[in-house]
């Protein structure tokens, strides 16, 4: 048997992330003891109507979230226990709601830092209703082989090591979360393990004290001994001693009390637990508690270290007297399924990758671009063009190449508000569209007629150079198979009104005295086409394309230079419109040629 929590316990958890985490731990325990998940519902108003996914074995349980306790217990009438994981300032209200629900018999509060008065009010209210209010600051309650409430018991491995999958003979009551596991572990190593372990919380006035739980253990025939882990402060241990000494008890009581160090420490010092503070005149000191327990007939080992052997002695005595028998351990226990990550780490499975990458890896402490750590690139003076080189062409480009790319980027960062991309972004910005979507609207304009000529120009210039065509052959080929030569021609620039950007770029590249077969070819093409019509000049797209092909960049990456640099301008346009709080644009009628039929009468429907 067990107390407070058993195989019939059904739980609602009040609260958010911490409660979900607890539910996961509880599911691990349920899985270990081969019982269905005992968490039926959550109450967390912000997420009401949704579900929390709780892993159980290799599956996932969807546990519904409600707005109120009443809604939860109405839909799940078996709920009889609530765990409170709500913040300290709202915890009392939540716990009161649970206590006042007729379905709920036990409320355990995990929240720390709850005002003392709130805890007292909750304790008193629960007693009045004949219910149990456990906590605040409780690590939880666990009944071996039956039920886990909260995270008490620790990780899955620890549940197994502490033999919590089956019942033992020792009850445990502690104020400390960390020590509860320690005692459970000790009971499983020096004796046959526990029945129920309860974290009552480290506050000065916990909702339920040792005595109430001692009574319950006394009435639980499976529990043969109870271990209490006390500390200075308050009078819970003295009351336990008083209870134990009042008449002959069936259970053995074993207790340790911490806080002897206080005899040599500054008076009034505050320890980790709110309740751990000695009162005036030595009340609540470790010594007075320890003495009271001893006087009442409890086993009080001199130190914490001596607790294990004391439990062992008690266990041996119980065995000898025939009150308990040696436990036969189960042959096999469920193992928590490994996550894929764990299984891979243990070389147990091979998973076929979904995608493959050859350029970057950010699994370490920083991203590596083609193997080079980003910080090292920065610290050794590399710049954005080198990153482009690494990620687009898997190549650490030279300083000279980087300078060319930098100039291309600067020249194509923005071409005013009237070009398709910028106009689309401005239009979107005026319509109240967000930055990323508005910029995307501009970017999707990039295509064969706007900016997107870079890739095409690069492709065909390269085709001509690779196939050793002369200009005439090339123009004939293009006319027959492709159409107008991409990269040639401009709407406003011409021989008489030359494009300074092109002049600048060509001039710079030429000044480097590097081999530029594509650029040279493109310039030859320009000579022929511009002679035919003076606006058929080599434009920025064509120049960029030729230069980048000469630098060795893959043809498929060329539009990327335009997309990347133009993004700078598009973001600028969006911010500019936002800053001005621009109005929604509606096209003026006079900018539209209404070539639709004149107004006419609608014929009757046939």
């Amino acid at each position: 048997m067990s107390i407070l929590a058993n195989k019939d316990t059904r739980v609602v958890i009040q609260g958010g992330a911490a409660g979900v985490n607890a539910a996961r731990r509880m599911a691990e325990f349920c899985y270990l003891i081969k019982r269905p998940l005992n968490v039926e519902a959550f109450v967390y108003p912000p997420d009401a109507g949704k579900t929390n996914e709780i892993p159980y074995g290799s599956g996932l349980m969807a546990i519904p979230i409600y707005k109120t306790i009443a809604e939860a217990t109405k839909s799940h009438s078996t709920i009889n226990t609530s765990l409170v994981y709500i913040g300290a300032d709202r915890a009392m209200k939540g716990a009161m709601e649970a206590l006042d629900d007729s379905h709920i018999k036990v409320v355990s509060m995990i929240t720390e830092g709850v005002p003392e008065k709130d805890a007292k009010l909750l304790g008193a209210h629960a007693r009045k209703l004949g219910k149990v209010f456990n906590g605040p600051s409780s690590i939880g309650i666990i009944s071996a082989g039956a039920c886990r409430l909260g995270v008490i018991g620790g990780a899955f491995d620890n549940l197994v090591l502490s033999k919590l999958y089956r019942e033992g003979s020792f009850g445990v009551i502690t104020k400390s979360g960390g020590l509860s596991n320690e005692i459970i572990w000790i009971c499983s190593q020096f004796a046959d393990g526990i029945t129920t372990a309860i974290g009552i919380g480290g506050d000065a006035y916990p909702g339920t004290d040792y005595v109430s739980y001692l009574e319950m253990f006394e009435n639980d025939p499976q529990t043969k001994a109870v271990v209490i882990v006390g500390e200075m402060g308050g009078d819970l241990e003295e009351r336990a001693a008083e209870w134990y000494g009042a008449k002959k008890r069936r259970v053995k009581l074993i207790g340790v009390v911490s806080g002897f160090c206080q005899e040599s420490l500054p008076k009034g010092m505050k320890f980790g637990h709110a309740g751990a503070k000695e009162g005036m005149k030595g009340e609540g000191s470790a010594r007075s508690k320890s003495d009271a327990l001893k006087k009442a007939g409890a086993i009080v080992p001199p130190t914490f270290g001596a607790l294990g052997p004391a439990i062992k002695d008690a266990y041996q005595e119980l065995l000898k007297s025939g009150q308990i028998k040696e436990v036969i351990e189960p042959v096999s226990l469920p193992k928590l399924p490994k996550t894929v990550e764990e299984a891979i780490k243990a070389d147990e499975v091979m998973v076929a990758p979904l995608i493959r990458t050859t350029i970057s890896d950010d699994r370490g402490d920083e991203p590596c671009y083609d193997g080079y750590p980003a910080s090292e690139l920065i610290n050794k003076g590399y710049e954005i063009p080198h990153v482009i080189g690494l990620l687009w062409d898997k190549r650490l480009i030279s300083k000279q190449e980087a300078e060319i790319i930098k100039r291309i980027m600067m020249l194509s960062a923005d071409h005013g508000p009237c070009v398709s991309g910028a106009y689309a972004t401005i239009l979107a910005a005026c319509a109240g569209i967000g930055l990323s979507q508005a910029v995307a609207a501009g970017l999707i304009m990039i295509g064969p007629r706007f900016g997107g000529a870079v890739t095409d120009a690069g492709r065909w210039f390269k085709y001509a150079v690779d196939n050793k065509m002369n200009v005439d052959e090339f123009l004939a080929y293009m006319k027959k198979n492709v159409g107008p030569v991409p990269g040639i021609g401009h709407r406003v620039k011409s021989l008489r009104n030359p494009d300074k950007r092109v002049k600048e770029l060509v001039g710079y590249v030429k000044s480097l005295h590097i081999k530029t077969p594509c650029l040279d070819f493109a310039l030859q093409v320009e000579q022929v086409t511009a002679a035919k019509k003076d606006n058929l000049i080599l434009n920025v797209d064509g120049t960029m394309a030729a230069v980048l092909v000469d630098l060795g960049f893959p043809v498929d990456s060329l539009n990327g230079f335009f997309i990347l640099s133009r993004t700078i301008g598009l973001i600028g346009h969006w911010v500019d419109q936002k800053r001005q709080d621009s109005r929604l644009i509606r096209l003026f009628d006079y900018l539209v040629n209404y070539a639709a039929p004149k107004r006419r009468e609608v014929p009757p429907l046939k």
Binding site: G178, C261, M269, G272, F304
Partner: protein
């Protein structure tokens, strides 16, 4: 619990209608001199000047002066401000009106398991301690307020007679209201005296312990809490408190001068058992510390740095029980970083480190600790199979 100094404590009592002497809290003699010009009571009555700090035995230290005139109070303030007592510098002085009186009474309200208790005695001052049986009590359940009849009975039981019975009943009723409304855990006025001019009961002193956890519902608590052990918090203690207030989980740190065994244990419960083990072995604690509730590694790192900075330490106890959900690897990561920093600053010479822990990712965490040996740390690492406080025994073996 959070202790509040006399000034703000009296402020709270005044708020609930309890008469207190006129008082001011000043940070300089000039400030007091200026206030003296503006307040008649400071010119007309005798004054008391006390250092307004969390200091024990102020009287013995000469930090309480009575029967002063304004000039005397200014001089006393000048003398007290800036005085160094241990780690504390006196920065504030409370100057209050001295109330001549013949008799002294006692009134307190304290928190009990069931609710609260009102204590009244018709003796006060230092007499109370030796006449504790004369203190009468009225026990109240939580949520229950005392009736006037009950308060009058308490007053009578304590030996008050005549008009004073009702006055004391009123006084204790107001004390209860203050206690209950302000989320106090302990309120004590000793002594309560009669102001001869109008026969009103006046609180001459205030010991106020508030429930720090209830701060969220008291936006008017505009004062700082004081340390409860007779000294102010040190800079390192304050820094750890600041970290503690920011994080999920907790880190705690209190210095104990003169110790040689530094504590860096996990868990509010286990940390005390570790401290006990040190004392039981005849060791001298250099501090109390604790981290729990899966705090972030950087917070544990800050705590570790403070622990490593304690002067004259020979051993550091990194103890802990089997954690429920505190990630051992991660929190140990913070400790390891702290150790490395301290070593880099030349702090870990001749310091032995003792580790015992269990819990989530215990193996990885303990392995990482063990690896510190290769970095020249004198470190001894044990797992859950070594009983909790055995590392203390090993550390303090002669």
């Amino acid at each position: 619990m959070a202790k509040v100094l006399e000034g703000p404590g009296m402020g709270l009592m005044k708020k609930w209608g309890i008469h207190v002497p006129n008082y001011v809290v000043v940070t300089s003699a000039d400030e007091l001199a200026k206030l003296g010009q503006a307040n008649d009571w400071m010119k007309n009555s005798k004054l008391v000047a006390k250092a307004h700090e969390a200091l024990g035995s102020r009287f013995k230290l000469g930090l309480v002066k009575v029967g002063l005139d304004l000039a005397g109070a200014v001089a006393a303030t000048k003398e007290m401000i800036g005085r160094q007592v241990g780690s504390i510098t006196v920065t504030q002085v409370i100057v209050s009106e001295m109330i001549p009186h013949k008799e002294e009474y006692y009134c307190a309200v304290k928190s009990t398991r069931e609710g609260s208790e009102i204590l009244v005695a018709n003796c006060g001052g230092i007499e109370v301690e030796s006449n504790w049986d004369r203190v009468k009590r009225l026990c109240l359940e939580v949520g229950q307020a005392p009736t006037h009849e009950a308060l009058e009975k308490l007053s009578k039981d304590a030996g008050f007679t005549g008009a004073l019975t009702k006055k004391m009943a009123d006084f204790s009723g107001k004390m209860f209201t203050c206690f209950d409304t302000e989320d106090a855990q302990y309120l004590e006025v000793n002594p309560v005296v009669i102001r001869e001019s109008n026969g009103e009961l006046v609180a001459l002193d205030a010991v106020t312990l508030l429930d720090g956890d209830a701060k969220f519902r008291h936006p008017d608590w505009n004062f700082q809490f004081a340390a409860e052990f007779g000294r102010a918090y040190s800079k390192d203690e304050m820094e750890v408190m600041a970290v503690d207030s920011k994080i999920k989980g907790s880190v705690k740190f209190i210095e104990i001068p003169g110790g040689d065994t530094a504590m860096l244990p996990a868990g509010g419960g286990a940390s005390v058992y570790y401290s006990d083990a040190v004392v039981a072995r005849g060791g001298k604690l250099a501090n109390y510390a604790e981290y729990s509730g899966d705090p972030p590694d950087w917070a544990v790192e800050v705590l570790t740095e403070k622990v490593c900075s304690l002067p004259g330490i020979k051993n550091i106890i990194v103890g802990g029980a089997i954690a429920n959900f505190t990630d051992v690897k991660k929190t140990f990561g913070g400790i390891i970083n702290g150790f490395r920093k301290a070593k880099g600053d030349g702090k870990m010479k001749n310091v032995k480190i003792w580790v015992r822990r269990g819990g989530p990712r215990e193996k990885e965490g303990l392995d990482a600790m063990r690896a510190l040996k290769d970095e020249g740390f004198d470190i001894h690492v044990f797992d859950r199979n070594t009983p909790l406080t055995d590392i203390v025994d090993k550390a303090l073996q002669k």
